[in-house]
């Protein structure tokens, strides 16, 4: 087990290192100049001033030292939790801009990932044992997985927000409110959360259901299931075992799927103007805010890694095979 985790940690460490390095390299290799961007934004009309201002910004953004030093500084700053200064929300530090948006994204992502996983698996397992459900629910599942996140979001906004008018279609909470720990505010928060959540939840749901169905079918065909049935075990028991075992790959799948769901959350947030990382990312892109872009990407990468790691731990806890240090793929 120790080896298993060491190996995983090595991979995560490496991923982190690479992601951070890419993160560092990309804006510096690509065309475009954040300082010029800053200057343009403030439309400083006389040349002299803008040159003088450039000096200040170069200093603030740390662009006035050689590249290798920038790279080292970048790492040092990173470990101090300093992700630089945002251009778009200047002079707010990237970390605080991201930290402000993060709760919204988490509030969307965590419930939609977990709930869709739980509900999807339950549905898939049911479909696997029921021909009627299999024929009825699964086509819906296929369709749902194939829907582009934003399109579902658009349709939900259109139907639930505009035609029916049941839900607000923008923002994290009403513009009439300021955050406070009151019922009004919480209800309002949830009210704004429903549609974006639904659009993420529904798309993910189908995938899990289909995956689970196939896995359960395979499990039901497996040797141990056959043996149990030959010994007269009731279907209930066999299915319970099949379900339990089929859940294992789904746990790994959950981790792997994460990147995609995060992507979905990004576009969904854009549709609903939800003040999470997605909207922020879009703003960073359209404002050429390299530093913010880097920061967001870093947060996402770290989030995905952490989640993957959690999934690994869960996997080890529920699958005795990994716990015993026996990995697949070794002869």
């Amino acid at each position: 087990m120790g080896r298993y985790f060491r190996r995983k940690l090595l991979i995560y460490g490496l991923t982190f290192f690479i992601a951070v390095s890419i993160n560092f390299a990309v804006p510096r290799l690509m065309p475009g100049d954040p300082v010029a961007r800053m200057l343009t934004r403030n439309s400083v009309s006389n040349l002299e001033s803008s040159e003088a201002m450039r000096g200040y910004f170069n200093d603030i953004f740390g662009l006035d030292v050689p590249l290798w030093k920038q790279y080292l500084n970048y790492w040092v700053a990173l470990f101090q939790g300093d992700l630089g200064v945002s251009v778009f929300a200047f002079p707010a530090p990237v970390s605080s801009v991201v930290a402000d948006a993060l709760p919204y994204t988490l509030a969307l992502l965590l419930p939609s990932i977990l709930l869709s996983w739980i509900v999807g698996n339950a549905m898939g397992a049911m479909a696997a044992r029921n021909k009627f459900l299999d024929n009825g629910a699964l086509p819906i599942g296929y369709v749902l997985t194939a829907v582009p996140y934003m399109w579902l979001a658009i349709l939900l906004a259109w139907v639930g927000g505009i035609i029916l008018g049941w839900f607000p279609v923008a923002g994290g909470y009403s513009f009439a409110l300021t955050p406070a720990f009151t019922w009004t505010f919480i209800v309002d928060l949830v009210h704004h959360w429903v549609l974006p959540f639904l659009s993420l939840f529904l798309v993910a749901l189908g995938g899990w259901a289909i995956g689970m169905r196939n896995l359960v079918i395979y499990e039901l065909e497996s040797d141990y299931a056959n043996y149990l049935q030959a010994l007269g075990a009731p279907n209930r028991l066999v299915r319970r075992y099949a379900f339990r075992n089929a859940v294992l790959p789904q746990v790994t799948g959950l981790a792997l799927q994460l990147g995609v769901v995060v992507g979905g959350a990004l576009v969904t947030e854009v549709v609903f103007a939800y003040p999470g990382l997605g909207s922020l990312l879009l703003n960073a892109v359209s404002n050429q805010d390299f530093f913010l872009l880097q920061g967001i990407l870093l947060f996402i990468v770290i989030g995905v890694l952490v989640f993957n790691f959690l999934a690994d731990i869960v996997y080890v806890l529920i699958d005795p095979r990994t716990r015993l240090g026996l990995e697949g793929g070794q002869s």
Binding site: V147, P148, V262
Partner: protein, 293 residues
Amino acid sequence: MSAEVVLQTEVVGRRNEHLYFALRNPKVAIGLGIVLALLVLGLVGPFFLSDSPNEYVGPKSEAPSGEYWLGTTYFGQDVFTQFVHGLRSSYLVGALGGGISFVIGLAIGFAAGYRGGMVDEILNMITNVVLVLPALAVLIVISSYLEVRGVVTQAVIIGIFSWPWVARAVRAQTFTLRNRDYVDLARLTGKRAPQIIMREIMPNMASYLLMSVILLFGGAILFAAMLDFIGLGPTNAVSLGTMMQQSMAWSSLHLGMWWWFVPPGLAITLIVGALYITNVGLDEVFNPKLREM
């Protein structure tokens, strides 16, 4: 001569067994039908319609009618023409992006699975690294640095980031196949590794590879649509994603111009959904266990 004929038909019988099941499988038939119908529309349509989907041809914001089958945009562009051109680029992205990731995944998967050992360890590590990178976020970052984005560049960057799971799967399959006796036999015939991979291992994963291609194809289309939607799509072309983006930008939701945003999303859903369904159908064809259900 007659023996020849008998053999021929037997051969054909074997070859066609999967085809036989494939065509009899309703999922495959429906799925492929939809995909091909839309493909034909995308390929042939532009020859009958205007070359420039962005031209203002009609009255503004018209609902679908006999003349403008899917209505017109806020500017009076024909939505159907745009739709058809969009289909084209979606298929292009799917084919190219899917193709690129397929090739990369294949190469890495084969190299890792066939060579094993250190090569495998390293490639596997790389695969795992790319696998946990949140692809869309990375794509957004990279796309945003490109000055001019075309369908092709988009497909390329999508391709570069969506191969890991194929590589993984191919690697696993290769692991089992490389120990097959016929692979050893090919080596005993003095064949080199690339030849063995191409001629012995790959054909045996054909069904599997076919399914991977299908999934990659659909995945690339979805990815591209997402990028397009947040404004990182091709800068000078119409795609289904940019149509959605445009319709949003021009308030079609609020103006009730459903004909502008429903068709592109629906088409993507149809294409990708049909691909998935085809895939499930093919799975049933190749795995008799599932056929039972």
